[in-house]
């Protein structure tokens, strides 16, 4: 059963022209004695672009074929990242779908993957991952100014801002939703 305009609401996922969208804003308006207008802002689940659209009562929208699976990361091969699914089958996800997330993967890392028509479109990592700093300038001790950061690099070449007290060889926590430094992991 496809959706009708009266099903529309914030958070609903719909498909238009083969693209899955999530409704990020929704407003119901209805002129006196007239037909309802359902104003929506929609975000593409493929490339994140947003569009606005006014739907009318008799508009019909497709339900996207979406499936979520938990996959376990194995290794990378060229620009593909190879995961293992629940049935121990290999699934390749292109780096372009992963975006910066590809830098935060580690062996056996469990990720939630959203498939649209069987094609992976969105990969959600654990919120925090631990990574070793492979390159950064030494921090100047005694600098007490707050919120001062410096660039640091992790394996794979991803660069992020870290506090001055973080040194090369340190392990840090990265927030995968923002790609930003979250915390330093102290050695036991």
């Amino acid at each position: 059963m496809p959706y009708t305009a009266s099903d529309l609401r914030k958070g609903l996922k719909v498909e238009m022209d083969g693209v899955p969208y999530v409704i990020t804003e929704f407003q119901f308006v209805k002129p006196g004695k007239g037909a309802a207008i359902y104003n929506c802002r929609l975000k593409s689940m493929i490339d994140g672009s947003t569009i606005t659209k006014a739907f009318r009562s008799n508009d019909i929208l497709d339900k996207p074929d979406l499936e979520e699976h938990t996959l376990r990361y194995s290794y990378s091969e060229g620009d593909d990242f190879i995961f293992m699914n629940e049935n121990f089958e290999q699934v390749a996800i292109p780096g372009s779908v992963l975006g910066d997330s590809k830098y935060f993967l580690y062996e056996d890392c469990e990720v939630e993957v959203l498939f649209h028509n069987g094609r992976p479109v969105e990969v959600t990592l654990p919120t925090f991952v631990e990574k070793v700093i492979v390159e950064t300038e030494p921090g100047s001790r005694g600098n007490t100014v707050q919120n001062v950061t410096k660039p640091a690099k992790i394996a794979g070449g991803y660069t992020l801002q870290v506090p001055l007290f973080v040194n090369q060889g340190d392990t840090i926590k990265i927030d995968t939703r923002t790609g930003e430094y979250a915390d330093r992991v102290l050695k036991k």
Binding site: T4, S6, R9, K10, G11, Q27, F28, V29, K30, P31, G32, K33, G34, A35, A36, I37, A54, R56, S57, N58
Partner: protein, 315 residues
């Protein structure tokens, strides 16, 4: 974040609504005293009805083998046909699927009808009602709303729909009507241009948007219908009532066919209402006013939710 999104507990929310409830109570009292002093009879007609009023774009909420009324209009016209000349009613109405900043599926409607009056007579009465009601609730004829001051002093500005559309939407829906474009441009182009600091009345709708209004005798391209706007809100709708049973049947047939084609629920034409028209409905004027929206204005709040303390959450 958690604190900001927290829904206040029941008692806190209801206690905070005291000011709004007081405004509503004073408004209802002022409305009743206005109509009673003018010789109107307050009536109550059934809320749970066997056949909902058939209109092109209004869906009724089913209630078992009955429906909840979308307006008291047909029953009140049956009273007019039976010789009641001045009647008013304040009560709950229900519209399926209407939920937004200015819509709630259950709301309070004021409707009044007067035999022998036309839509412009009703507009004069609407001006007097608002002057008296706003004065009674606020002690002056001005309503501060969302940073502006709405002055209710009559007479209000009247604007023909054709003129408003020509000015702001670049076309004349009375000359050549396009239903989809009319609704869209009304909401997106015309309504945003209406003055915010005083009431304004859009009148003389295209014949195709007549709803239950009669067409003008000398110019059948326009329907004798008006809508009152204030502060960006559509507050009231009025007609010179359609009393011709043949034309009424024709519109019912057309709306049924259009609803069927659009996959909407189709309701039978209300036989008791048609019988009343056949028996003879006197020429009459009628107005329907959204009481909750008026409370919104008088309470200076942005959303209908703010005047409905028991509303269900929007999302």
């Amino acid at each position: 974040m958690r604190l900001l999104n927290r829904i206040p507990p029941e008692a806190e929310r209801l206690a905070a609504a005291r000011g709004v409830l007081q405004i509503r109570a004073r408004l209802l009292q002022a409305i009743r005293s206005f109509f009673v002093s003018r010789g109107y009879l307050e009536v109550e007609t059934p809320v749970r009805i066997p056949v909902p009023a058939l209109e092109r774009h209004i869906d009724a909420e089913p209630a078992g083998d009955h429906f909840l009324r979308t307006s008291p209009e047909f029953h009140m016209k049956r009273l007019l046909a039976a010789g009641y000349e001045k009647i008013f009613q304040i009560g709950p109405c229900f519209r399926r699927g209407e939920r937004g900043r200015f819509h709630h599926p259950e709301y309070t409607m004021l409707e009044w009808y007067r035999a022998g009056a036309n839509y412009l007579d009703m507009l004069n009465e609407m001006e007097s009602l608002m002057a008296e009601a706003v004065q009674a609730v606020q002690g002056l004829l001005q309503t501060p709303y969302q940073g502006r001051l709405i002055s209710w002093t009559p007479p209000w500005e009247r604007m023909r729909v054709a003129d408003a559309f020509r000015a702001w939407a670049g076309w004349d829906p009375v000359a050549a009507y396009d239903a989809d474009r009319f609704d869209r441009d009304l909401v997106e182009r015309v309504e945003p241009q209406l003055p915010m600091n005083r009431p304004v009345v859009l009148k003389d709708y295209p014949a195709e948007a007549a709803a239950l209004a009669r067409l003008n005798a000398s110019n059948p391209r326009v329907a004798e219908r008006w809508e009152l706007y204030a502060g960006g809100l559509e507050l009231a709708n009025a007609f010179s009532e359609l009393t011709d049973p043949t034309e009424m049947r024709r519109r019912f047939t057309q709306w049924s066919a259009e609803r069927q084609a659009a996959g909407q629920a189709v309701y039978p034409a209300d036989p008791a209402f048609l019988a009343a028209l056949e028996a003879g409905l006197p020429p009459s004027g009628g107005v329907a006013l959204g009481v909750d929206r008026l409370v919104m204005l008088l309470a200076d709040v942005r959303s209908l939710d703010d005047v409905l303390p028991f509303r269900e959450p929007l999302e």
